[in-house]
């Protein structure tokens, strides 16, 4: 148990955080995956913020997206350059108030920030798994999280909240473990990838695999497929923004105001932004993890997996109440996909609120400061917390 530094409107305060790892499925017992493969041991890196109350009714699980990790909010050390990835939403007095709720965030399996993934050492060989790591699904990620919650003795989550690939985990939680979820907030997400979303992911994967340093997934720390991963990230950043977002953010602004370079340097600001994002990403993310998580997102199909092809049949398994949020300029998971989700939830008799938030910043909007979003989540959690104890 330690403390972390949180910032709120009134200045600096101090919160409680636990930064831990939990290992389970130690061989010969192993986790059975949706593919039929077995995985073990499984380590989960997780953080918790705030305190679990006496009746254990205030636990909120936040699920992170593709490149996220368990470090959700605040600073562990004053010198950290950046706070956790959803610091705008999670903290004392914020949308997800760590003075009210016990907030848990778990690094997903298949990732590279402390939980077991392709970069972990394969106990059978003593070297990193690489492509010997089994393909995991969103369902597998959720199953692993559920084992952790058993370990933490949290029988029912007040809420599961997440955006993008995190939102897929939210939906999966509700139909896989319906008794364990009281309320759910899928943000900027989809019940299944469109061909367009699959196409972007596939091109990103091809960019990684085209890098000779990738070497069939067997690379060392000094010889990583950085160039391929950077291109993959650049493609990702295009999908996180939008035509409108890019126009507002960059337009045709030049790096060198006076004229074109007439060479292949970055002339336009949007070019240097993308190059920078690509370069920065390779410092913190693993190329194989990128392959595995995008594949899991492409495979995710709630209707196929849980409803025999019918989305409302899938949601008829759920028991949670829902707050569904989409953003006007999100063209990776456009609003029409959220509407389909909401219709299927209603058809299945679920209680659901839906809000499309006017936002210019494309898919990334859920990660950016938005008073409307904070307010919606705060209100939804408050009512849920009142009702869960009835």
């Amino acid at each position: 148990m330690s403390e972390y530094i949180a910032h709120d409107a009134d200045g600096v305060s101090v919160g409680r955080v636990e930064k831990q790892v939990f290992t389970f499925a130690r061989p010969p017992e192993r986790l059975v995956l949706e593919s039929g493969e077995h995985l073990g041991p499984v380590t989960l890196a997780y953080e918790t913020y705030g305190r679990l109350n006496r009746d254990r009714s205030n636990a909120v699980l936040v699920c992170h997206a593709l490149s996220g990790d368990a470090h959700l909010a605040g600073y562990h050390r004053e010198e950290d350059p950046k706070p956790g990835w959803w610091d705008i939403m999670v903290g004392p007095g914020k949308g997800i108030d760590t003075q009210q709720y016990f907030v848990v965030c778990v690094n997903i399996i298949g990732s590279c920030a402390g939980s077991t993934g392709p970069n972990s050492v394969n106990p059978e060989t003593g070297v990193p798994y690489g492509l010997d790591f089994p393909v995991v699904t969103i369902g597998d990620m959720v199953t692993a999280q559920k084992v952790l919650l058993d370990h933490l003795k949290i029988e029912k989550l007040l809420a599961v909240i997440g955006g993008s690939v995190g939102g897929m985990q939210v939906l999966e939680w509700c139909v896989r473990y319906p008794q364990r979820v009281f309320a759910a907030v899928p943000l900027a997400t989809t019940c299944r990838h469109s061909a367009l979303a699959i196409a972007f992911n596939e091109v990103s994967r091809q960019a990684i695999m085209a890098d000779p340093n990738w070497h069939g997934g067997r690379y060392g720390p000094d010889n990583k497929p950085d160039l391929g991963l950077a291109v993959a990230r650049m493609i990702g950043h295009i999908t996180y923004l939008s035509d409108e977002a890019m126009r507002r953010k960059f337009g045709r602004q030049l790096q060198n105001k006076s004229d074109f370079s007439f060479n292949f340097d970055a002339d336009f600001q949007v070019e240097s932004y993308l190059r920078y994002q690509g370069r920065k990403f390779v410092e913190r993310f693993d190329a194989n993890a990128f392959l595995y998580i995008t594949k899991a997102a492409d495979y995710f199909d709630l209707a196929r997996q849980h409803g025999n092809g019918s989305l409302s049949q899938a949601f008829s398994k759920a028991r949670a109440r829902f707050l569904v949020v989409s953003f006007t300029s999100d063209w990776l998971y456009p609003t029409y996909q959220s509407r389909e989700m909401v219709q299927a939830m209603k058809k299945a008799g679920r209680e659901v609120s839906f809000c499309e938030i006017e936002a210019q910043w494309g898919h990334d909007a859920f990660l950016l400061p938005n008073p409307r979003l904070s307010q919606l989540i705060r209100g939804f959690l408050k009512r849920a917390h009142e009702d869960i104890r009835k």
Copy 2:
């Protein structure tokens, strides 16, 4: 002078085609480019279809897009697997009727299908230019085409027609050589790239440059940056389609109907389609040419170059009448960009017809059979041909 095999509604007919090269700007005389650099000699590969009439009033220049070439229509030999790239539009009795018009198509400079480009031999060194090739602009491409038309003694074009990067050349023609163009048809194009379009091009270029075989642009025929170029082409194909087009064409259809592969093979049809398009492209296209042409497209900015920042001022230099066509599902150059173009043309006093065609297939729609588009172009050319002789 030779014949080519053309197909029309009534079966096979035979047209006249000239497949030629023309070389000019032989040192010490050289072509002065917009960058201030000099290029020479300049070779242009071009094809002509049909016959120039006595008063030389029936010449139609068709400008090709990024990956096109001079081979516009028909088959040179019966065993050719595919006809020219716009065979659906150009031929006897088609939208651009080769029995009525003398149709010219020129491979753009900077490309790799017969005209001078980065893959051509630099006369100063005896080896291919590579990145020593100067960065060319859409304006430079048009200037070179104009020298060819001088050579062909075509003083005034009945029409200039082209889509996408070809449409940019159409617009450039009208303001650069206003006396030489009677009518113009820019299709599925823009007066300048949005930040989104630049972003896609930049990521594509980065994919090529990330391939170690690219080697700073110095590669041999046996060691080409094929993987990088394939990824670039895959990115391109995403932009040529659209969310809706991909949903209709592929949806989430699997390659192997029964189940996921649970590995990194192509599970979804959209994945194998993209991989196939990437592989096929590298057989016929040069990676450096891809860099140069995308850069020219990114630099293109009619208002900046010709109107002191004002698009209507740029169009006030033009004399042509316009038929502007956009496609509903084109998200590379969306209709709003064509509307801006049309408004500026009108403000400049130009005669302009505008049509947004309902089409599912995204940016690629201008290359696909569309009776409405053929009819529009046929009618526009007919009236122009009547009026040019008045």
